[in-house]
Symmetry: C2
Subunit: 427 residues, 2 copies
Amino acid sequence: MTTQGSRPTGDVVVQKYGGSSLATVSQVRQVADRVGALARSGRRVVVVVSAQGDTTDELVGRAEAVNPRPAGHELDQLLATGETASAALMAMALQRGGLAATALSGARSGVLATGPHGAGVIVAVDTDQLRTLLDAGRTVVLAGFQGVTAEGDIITLGRGGSDTTAVAVAAELRSGHCEIYSDVPGVFTADPRVVPDARLMPDIDIDVMTEMAFAGARVMHARAVELAALYDVDILVGRSTATRTGTRIHRRDGNDMLEDRTAVSAVVHDADIARITLRTHDTPDPSADVFRFLAKESIPADMTTVSSAPDGGFSLGFTVRRSHAADVGRSFSDLMAPRPHGVEVEDQVAKVSIVGQGLLSRPEYASRMLASLVGSGISARSLTASQLRVSVTVPRSDAVRAVGLLHSEFGLGAEAGAVPASLTPRP
Amino acid sequence: MTTQGSRPTGDVVVQKYGGSSLATVSQVRQVADRVGALARSGRRVVVVVSAQGDTTDELVGRAEAVNPRPAGHELDQLLATGETASAALMAMALQRGGLAATALSGARSGVLATGPHGAGVIVAVDTDQLRTLLDAGRTVVLAGFQGVTAEGDIITLGRGGSDTTAVAVAAELRSGHCEIYSDVPGVFTADPRVVPDARLMPDIDIDVMTEMAFAGARVMHARAVELAALYDVDILVGRSTATRTGTRIHRRDGNDMLEDRTAVSAVVHDADIARITLRTHDTPDPSADVFRFLAKESIPADMTTVSSAPDGGFSLGFTVRRSHAADVGRSFSDLMAPRPHGVEVEDQVAKVSIVGQGLLSRPEYASRMLASLVGSGISARSLTASQLRVSVTVPRSDAVRAVGLLHSEFGLGAEAGAVPASLTPRP
């Protein structure tokens, strides 16, 4: 993404509202009331909306009923109508409250995107029209989740893409701040449906949040957090019915770190994954081919492990979204043929991760994690570790239990403080 | 509208499918099967689709729930999603059948439009992309009912606008022919729900059809027929489940006329109207102001009558869609103030018309029409006549009876032939 324009727009607030906050007429009106109050207080507001309620799922269902494997161009045209309609309705609701408001579809929003259909990447946001409308005193409502290619085609950004739209618009408008509202009150130390004493975190470092999102925390889209980190956009994640409470996601400096009592911030699990392992023998290393394929298809892979044995045996493993597993497995068999190889698809696994800071600087975290799981009879099949995250795959049926164990092991619950405060701030 | 391009495209078929023919997945597939068979026979096909089933009504309902008076820009953005989604689904269904198919939304279709939101007028169709896709062997599915302004905004063409889209595309592609499919088998001598012995007409003169459509025949949109007349596009109107049967709407020459046994072709009624009468005294003639207002608001008026009395009294009356009546009445009171005036809105009337050829050449048609109604105790409150149509307003409660009377009076039923064959062809 490149930034354009130079006029200062520090007084612009970009707010994104998720589909669950817009499912009914009364919800649309409630959000319009919030936005209206903010606009009347003198702020210039850009609202990014998702499709209402379950609209996207319904549209996918209609597409699949007509054609189980629809072309991306047509599927994107269909799905984009969800957010386009939602933006129109939100602008109408704002107009009803007496506000000057304009809805823009993806084709008109200035969000320029590229990449395969269904997994578009924002290239830039042409903010000229946006600034003109804001300067004219209008509140602008953008259809999230979609952009327009250089050829004029609509392309969708993949699930959660509306978060990315909001952050990209905030970045290009140089507002430095973006608010993401949904039915979730903020970022928790673990999924509160799984761990009853999970705590809401008032703030979290943006790099840690990137890892959390990638590890499966559903509160925010991973790409959106990465973009925010890259362009120094602070994010507030909160409930659409609350005001300015929730979790602040920002770049924490050393002084903030002093207040932390542990380097492990949260436990995240993701049951919607499969692990794929490719094994070959006595052939050229296929890694480059494999990653080229994944990049071309825009399939994000996590927990990559590569190993080669002295006897020439080679194995390459990673996790993907479960919906991608069968396709990837099949494509790899094609890719490797006629070389001798085996492709293993494990689709009864889940990913469980601890996220935090300096996790590799203190190797006890990975070992405590494994010891805790093994001590309770849960086998970790694969492990990857970085400074910000340690992830393991476990049998899916053990995932919930694993999250509870680790949340307690690292003292993340309401009774936090059990972990020795032996940590020093980052330099 | 201006025509562009010059390559011959006589082998292109433009087919339009109405919302009732696309309401369910199985209907979408049935239509796709038809289109697929045609494409495989070697024809190049452009399909124009309406929104599925009651989608447009549902979207209007959602808009009204959020804002009873939404801005046109936002309402158009919302409504256009119906046809855009429908086009995507139809293209997917065609792809499932192995056909190369591309869906285009209004923003991409090349249909250039202008005018107020909700009542756009097609200015031109930029067929470059359409021709490129057709030349590449692709079947193209266009979202009907919508066009794009020079500024890039989506504008809808008003109810029935998908018919207009189809005819405009056929005209600009110089295909000379357009097929309009819905759940109606064709054009009848009267509404068969009202007149049991109404006959399906195998063909009808296009000028007569223009009058029929304007008089309230719902089978085709009046503007679409006018456009077809202007650009010499033949139309076939039929059921989406039948093949090449229905009513052919085309310019009939004198020889065809010889076969007619009566100049009255059909009886048409329209209960969705109101009559507005403006009365003033001793003021400048307000007609120009009134028609300027109607043109600006794109409100079609019919059955215009103007009368002025020697004492300076002046009255101007016309019919409009019932949904426009209250607005028009109120606007006229504003327009006339502070001059003394009265505005009468009759909203319990219906329009009943006979359509055919040479109706004024033989004044007995109007007099037989009135005599027949009066003889059955039905009062005609106003009357306008042209060569192609004589219309009266009657109390709405008498409309159905009036249609039956006139259908029988002019011998249009299955027992046709009662009217003397005294007619000569047009020169």
